[in-house]
Amino acid sequence: MTKRQTRLFFIVGTLVFAGIFVGLTVDSHRQFGRLTNADLITADVSAGKDVWHDNNCINCHTLLGEGAYYAPDLTKITQHRGVPYLTAFLEDPSRFYSEEQYRRLMPNPELTDREIEQVLAFLDWVSRIDNQGWPPRPILVTGSRFAGVEAGARTADAASDEPVALGQTLFSQSPATCSACHSTAPGVQLAGPSLAGIGTRVATLLAEGGYGGSATTAEGYLREAIVQPSAHLVPGETFSAEGRSFMPDNYSQLLTDEQVDHLVDYLLTLR
């Protein structure tokens, strides 16, 4: 090869591949709207994006797996934690995590109520982006799927058509991902209370009084707890505020009646 030929290789090679790249870019633009649900980018989502940037969030957190690696990934956070919880968290992160225990803490971002609302709208929009199903398993902020919870059930099919098996799979599968906030190990409190022994504890609760909801049976209680989380509040300032549970209240839309039944069947087995 002569120098002229290698120069030609460089110029033609670069131009050809740059051309392909530009072509793919044009095609990507045709798909961005659909993949990102661009029609759901409201004024709040847009303003929330500015809150995200102005507070330099990306230099600790990752979003869609991009950013710094010093704080948890937030891609699906609004699917793991409800808006009331996240609002209370952003008002004062130190109420929820101890720096002594975890050796790091989120500084108080000092956002206004409105800014919190906007940034959560933005994060909620991000959580719905079609990104080829990443992450393959839910990334938890804290807690674990080890103790009492089957690791890696996210992509597995239920072992059988048995309602309990279906419920058990649903427990750590999206949608629902109950395991992101509830452990089934005694004493392991994540964002929500531990569900260890819930199948037997409910009967005691109903019998002893102090219960404010309308259920009369254990099945009824668990169903109500899933679809109307605020009907009865488990004591604890990290579980609820102002009479509202931090648990998302949209499971009646996310899950079918049948799926709720399966979850109840599964939870009743926890003793």
């Binding site: 090869m1 002569t2 120098k3 290698t6 120069r7 290789f9 460089f10 090679g13 670069t14 591949f17 790249f21 793919l24 870019t25 798909q31 961005f32 993949l35 990102t36 980018i41 995200w52 940037h53 102005d54 507070n55 330099n56 969030c57 990306i58 230099n59 600790c60 979003l63 869609l64 797996g65 991009e66 950013g67 710094a68 690696y69 010093y70 704080a71 948890p72 990934d73 720096e99 975890y102 050796r103 790091r104 803490l105 500084p107 991000v126 982006i129 079609d130 080829q132 990443w134 992450p135 398993r137 938890l140 902020v141 807690g143 674990s144 799927r145 080890f146 690791a151 890696g152 395991s179």
Partner: protein
């Protein structure tokens, strides 16, 4: 030094090395925060120290590149720099702009966009300074009229770097679209046009240090840069994983990232064979260390360690873990830090009063080996931390916070290795500043001797 105006490079190198030291201080501070608890949480939290750490890197490497261009272009074009005054003004504005940006970050003046945090006025100033630089260099090349391949590649790389900074000025409504174009700047810089600059500088150094045939080296320079672009442009795809873009970017990212290896491996072979064929007889042994070191470390850090996590089925699990800084640290060090330090080491004897190319500096060798070893240690610390994180957090489903507690020991290792690295860098910086530079302003330079033949002609 054959041309008086080459001494402009000294001022650029001095600023670059000062910022390098500052970058390491902020890196160390950020690493310490991984151990926590953080007493500075309300004054200088992690997001600030980390942004300053990465921004200083970009600024000082670019400063080094520009200094290198001011040193290389006069020799290649066989003429003085068009306007030394403009070059000094440019450095002044560049430095002030950098200081303003860093201080601004401390007070929360940021755009909060990873690696492109610079607020708009700072970004516009960067563009203006780059244009001043390109104008000055271009006029110099026109004056000389030689247009050697080496200087063409070097300057085209820097010109394209300025051009590719422009997408950073755009604002997008859609977060995914803004990610898409952010990588046009960042990826096409570091895995495209900056590689072009690196290859141009390596070509210059190899011609000078090995005395290898210019025609031969420049012929292969085109092949290397061609391979870099053929793989690197579509290789942008590996930054498009899981961010809401069409599915086809996944296989494209896997295939083209693997092809980058070919380019980087070819670059290492190119440097090695150039040295081997013509011998290691140049008196400036340290410059040979840095030059060959850069080519080899690039193949390892940017090449191999990049490949380690760019295959989509692997990246699905490692995306957003400490595996990424593993690759990031060694890639930037090998490709850009080492090549700038190579040019500085090569040029120093020509920029100092008792310039002696055969100067044996023990401190210089310590600087080389401690930095190379320290960076290897840091890379391993990030790698072990990242592997443990991927396994515990992504596969087993342990919470993020609990996982970070379990990998504390790797952060200790990181700080240990970073200390070794910083001592090495301190040796380099001290060795630089303890040599008295030639008179920087006025007066004739020490050896204005335009009739002297070019150094390569002496050696071949």
């Amino acid at each position: 030094m054959r041309y008086r105006s080459q001494r402009i490079a000294y001022a650029y190198f001095a600023v670059a090395l000062f910022l390098y030291g500052l970058q390491l201080a902020f890196g160390m501070l950020s690493a310490a925060k991984y151990l926590g608890p953080d007493p500075l949480i309300d004054i200088l939290p992690f997001d600030v120290t980390k942004a300053i750490h990465t921004n200083l890197l970009i600024v000082w490497v670019l400063t080094g590149f520009m200094g290198a261009a001011y040193y290389v272009v006069p020799e290649e074009s066989r003429t003085e720099i068009y306007s030394p005054r403009l070059a000094y003004w440019q450095l002044g504005i560049w430095t002030v702009n950098g200081v303003v940006a860093v201080v601004g970050y401390m007070f929360g003046w940021t755009e909060g966009n990873k690696l492109l945090e610079q607020p708009v006025p700072v970004k516009i100033t960067i563009v203006i300074v780059m244009l001043m630089f390109l104008y000055n260099i271009f006029r110099t090349m026109m004056k000389g009229g030689r247009w050697t391949t080496t200087e063409n590649v070097l300057v085209a790389g820097l010109g394209l770097a300025a051009l590719l900074y422009l997408p950073a000025l755009l604002q997008f409504h859609n977060y995914t679209v803004s990610i898409f174009y952010r990588w046009w700047t960042i990826h096409l810089w570091v895995e495209g046009v900056w590689e072009m600059v690196q290859a141009g500088l390596l070509a210059y150094l190899l011609i000078r240090l090995s005395g290898a045939d210019r025609e031969m080296l420049e012929k292969w320079l085109y092949v290397i840069v061609g391979l870099v672009f053929i793989a690197g442009i579509i290789g942008t795809a590996h930054h498009y994983y899981w961010v809401g873009v069409p599915q086809y970017w996944l296989p494209l990212g896997g295939i083209f990232s693997a092809r980058v290896q070919l380019a980087l491996f070819a670059m290492a072979m190119w440097a090695y064979f150039a040295m081997r064929r013509s011998g290691f007889s140049h008196p400036n042994k340290l410059a040979i260390h840095w030059t060959v070191g850069s080519a080899i470390y690039t193949a390892f850090g940017a090449g191999l360690l990049g490949l380690a996590h760019t295959w989509p089925s692997v990246n699905k699990w490692t995306h957003g873990t400490l595996i990424t800084p593993m690759h990031g640290h060694s890639a930037f060090f090998g490709a850009y830090v080492m090549v700038v330090l190579a040019v500085v080491t090569y040029a120093m004897p020509h920029l100092t009063r008792d310039g002696d190319e055969g100067r044996e500096s023990t401190l210089g060798y310590w600087a080389f080996w401690l930095q190379a070893a320290g960076m290897l240690g840091m890379t391993m610390a990030f790698a072990t931390a990242g592997i443990a994180q991927t396994y515990l957090e992504r596969i087993m489903g342990l919470g993020y916070l609990e996982t970070q507690l379990k990998i504390q020991v790797h952060f200790l290792m990181l700080i240990g290795a970073a200390t070794v690295f910083s001592v090495g860098a301190a040796c380099f910086i001290w060795d630089f500043f303890r040599q008295r530079p030639i008179e920087l302003f006025g007066g004739p330079g020490p050896e204005v001797d335009a009739d002297r033949p070019a150094p390569e002609a002496v050696l071949t």
